[in-house]
Amino acid sequence: MKKYFNYIALPAFALGLVACEPEFDNDITENQDFYTSGSADFSSYVSVGNSLTAGFADGALYITGQENSYPNIMAQQFALAGGGSFSQPLVSDNLGGLTLGGMQITENRFVLATDADGNPGPARLAGTPTTEVSNIVAGPFNNVGVPGAKSFHLVAPGYGNVAGVATGQANPYFARFASTANTTVMAEALAANPTFFSLWIGNNDILGFATSGGAGVDQTGNLDPSTYGSNDITDPNVFASVYSQEVAALTSTGAKGALVNIPDVTSIPFFTTVPSQAIPLDEETAATLNASFILYNTQVLPGLASFGVITAEEAAARQINFSAGANFITIQDEDLTDISAIIQGPPFNLDPITAATLSQLRQTTNDDLIPLTTAGVLGTIDEAYVGFLLANVPNISPEQAGLSAIRGVSRPLQDQFVLTTQEQALVTAAQTQYNATIQALASANGLAFVDARTALQNVANGGVAFSGGILSSQFVTGGAFSLDGVHPTPRGYAFTANAVINAINSTYGSTIPGVDIGNYATVTISNDVN
């Protein structure tokens, strides 16, 4: 028996050992050289930035958003070529709201809900958030993205001081994981001993101004950021100064990295979803409105132009015309000549209320950008203004007052509801200078330069093909942007991760694979809303 046993057992054993594990000719996980890190070292990857780095989406920071942050997606791919673990200061739930001392201080995330008629639209997810800002989570973390941070915030001591959150002196997202009250974001980043980093900062240095419809101040020329308001545009020299300081700190230990530039605000659905021709009117209403502006169009404006108060060009731009169908919005444009005082005098002799309405009046053009948040205002009645009219205009009926207070039509929208072409120019001018700084520093330090601006333009202009469709900036349906209209979806972040990986590969000769963006989700649907 024994000799037969040998006949069978030996080959059987040999085969058995072979059969245990199927082996690829070229296994991507076992072949050390399949994916390479090139001249980079991904063993400790630290990502620095703002909400885009943190994985903020749908108007909030929540766990699955953080899991789909572009640096976390990148870190999974880096792991194929020597990348280490990647830890993030995860919030406590998927609702996204923050509490401070038990009081909710930021809203829950948006989800795509349906109304009673089945029409989909963004709504806030219902529930009581559990992320308490004063419960500080211990780092160091590889993702030090802080929602809301501007360039100069990263080097500002105390930006993560819990005590300063209530007064607006500190950032609640940073306070959650700042190791000390006086630390800086940069110090927290360096605490993770980066061998590789990515830096994407500067978006908020223009975005707050843009999303507020230009309600802030362009601080170009003012070199003291401590005097800036939250909606202001940061001076490009301040940006250049703090940005180069940040790059110097991150590269000081020999770490390599990637610098990401600032996309155009016009690439995001927050500004491209609401058309400037957003006022639907029937023929009768249009005719009534036209009748009320006939004097303004045919006498006031030509008169002012002939007196040389305004140019013929401005007179033309200020014409108000309605027609049946979609109409441009009426707005108060602070960049127009204020004519209210003049038209109260002869020969027009208008009353102060009419003069105030006409003072900087014009209709939008296709070049004006209407923030997403304006959609909720358009066509509504300005009740305060109705009260003002009833109190100040003799013999006005409540009905007449109401007709005079329709926002965007009879009641022009205030400055903060429209980003005019002049305001856009301020944003673009600052952005162009920031981007020049970013590109120059990437070049000077041998860092990868990620042209996120061009990448997002491609998404916005026709979209980018992937396995399963086209990724575009179309609000809700395009797949790239979450329901706040500003921040990407997981799929948008995956697209971003690929763009960064490509830049890294071409700079450092690494061969990190991108991800299949079709495997990442777009907007989240749920009817669990308030």
Binding site: A12, F13, C20, I28, L80, A521, S526
Partner: protein, 423 residues
């Protein structure tokens, strides 16, 4: 003997897999050891499976063969473009068989066969990159078959009988590549249906012109395993609470049909000497029966809630089998074999639930005659699949075809043990 057993047990630690599609060619130790041949060879009661026409030729009044296999399958997947990797979690299958025959007279035998010719057990890590196609599948079919065999002429016998097929399926997959609930859990469906029954038959003929040569042919009919309303449950979970979702969480009825294809086997057996026997079988399976795995999810009123259309488009496929037996002594018989198994899967239809491509099987085994009546049979199968770059191109998302693919490599090892008894 104890040592042999312990070795066999050791071998069980390793892996196995199947033939083309979800056919499992593990129906007897002696047949398997000879490259899963046997349509023309009268050996033991296993002939009830390979060719019931040969039952009447068995020596003795009563013949019984029982046994089973340890089936472990290992599939590795990788996609170099995106750095995706996955490996199945070596689920253990245990196909069993029981064959018995009783010689009523010299010209008539009756028998019973119980065997598991179809099955598939594949388990990927949950939410792997192909989870929208399959997370796990456990498919099994037990055939129970009463048999009659008649010797028509001195050198021609036929046999056959009806088949009662008892099937079951458990199938888990995600609804899409990325639909999740609010907490990011992937929306999922698990189908389960057990105890399904269907009928078929098999018939065979054996020609034995002389002591050296024999020729056999066997036909096993197609059997459709139908899941009808009420036969099983489809449980949806982690579906977001929204009318925009394709379906809601909860249990639904479903309908589906899984064809177990007809197969032909013709073969020859040759004894060049007293000690040697050589077999060649050609097996042809009519896999074109498997056009699609279409699943209809039904509301309680029977209306369609959701449909899942999954083209498979299998083609008919052959396998070519060679086996040899060597009688070392009256106590000990050695066997070996090899076969080539052509995959029924066509380009662009490589679904990860049955990740099969062309394979070569290597088999071996032995019989130890404990007494004149009782024998221990052992066998092993090593199946090696070619590494293949393949994709499944018929998954549709938002009206677009979304191919899923990469490189697959499977390997397999199936050790088995059985007993043969004759009286």
């Amino acid at each position: 003997m104890k040592k042999v057993l312990s070795v066999v047990v050791l071998l069980l630690v390793c892996a196995v897999t199947y033939a083309g599609g979800y056919r499992v060619s593990l129906q007897g130790q002696r047949g398997l050891a000879m490259g899963h041949t046997g349509v023309a060879m009268v050996n033991n009661a296993e002939i009830a499976f390979f060719n019931p026409g040969g039952l009447v030729h068995l020596e003795g009044k009563l013949n019984i063969a029982v046994g089973g296999f340890g089936v472990f399958s290992d599939v590795k997947f990788q996609n170099a473009e995106f750095g995706q990797t996955s490996q199945t979690e070596s689920p253990t299958g245990t196909p069993l068989y029981l064959y018995a025959s009783y010689n009523v007279s010299e010209k008539l035998a009756v028998g019973l066969a119980v065997y598991t010719p179809y099955g598939s057990t594949v388990e990927y890590p949950t939410d792997w990159s192909g989870s929208h196609l399959v997370n796990s599948i456990d498919l099994s079919a037990v055939f129970v078959q009463p048999l009659v065999s008649v010797k028509l002429l001195e050198d021609l016998s036929i046999g056959g009988g009806p088949i009662l097929a008892i099937g079951g399926v458990n199938f888990n997959r995600n609804l899409s590549r990325n639909l999740t609930d609010i907490d990011g859990n992937r929306s999922n469906v698990e189908l389960d249906s057990q105890g399904l029954t269907a009928f078929g038959f098999s018939v065979g003929a054996l020609i034995t012109p002389n002591d050296q040569w024999s020729f056999g042919v066997n036909y096993r009919s197609r059997i459709d395993i139908d899941v009808e309303q009420g036969d099983g449950d489809a449980v949806f979970s982690n579906v977001p609470n929204s009318p925009l979702a394709p379906i809601t969480n909860g249990t639904f009825d479903f309908t589906a049909t899984l064809p177990l294809p007809a197969e032909w086997t013709v073969g020859v057996s040759y004894k060049p000497s007293d000690k040697w026997t050589l077999n060649f079988d050609w097996n042809y399976a009519e896999w074109d029966a498997y056009e699609a795995l279409d699943i209809m999810f039904l509301n309680t009123d029977g209306s369609l809630a959701l449909e899942s259309i999954n083209p498979r488009n299998y083609k008919n496929a052959s396998s070519y089998r060679l086996g040899a037996q060597f009688d070392v002594s009256s106590k000990f018989v050695l066997r070996g074999g090899v076969y080539f198994d052509e995959s029924p899967v066509q380009d662009g239809f490589f679904a990860p639930e049955t990740p099969r491509n062309d394979s070569y099987g290597f088999t071996g085994g032995f019989t130890y005659n404990v007494t004149d009546k009782l024998a221990i049979d052992a066998s092993f199968l090593y199946l090696t699949f070619k590494e293949i770059d393949a994709s499944y191109d018929s998954y549709v998302e938002g009206g677009e075809r979304v191919p899923f693919g990469g490189t697959y490599k499977s390997s397999a090892f199936a050790p088995g043990l059985g007993l043969s008894y004759k009286l």
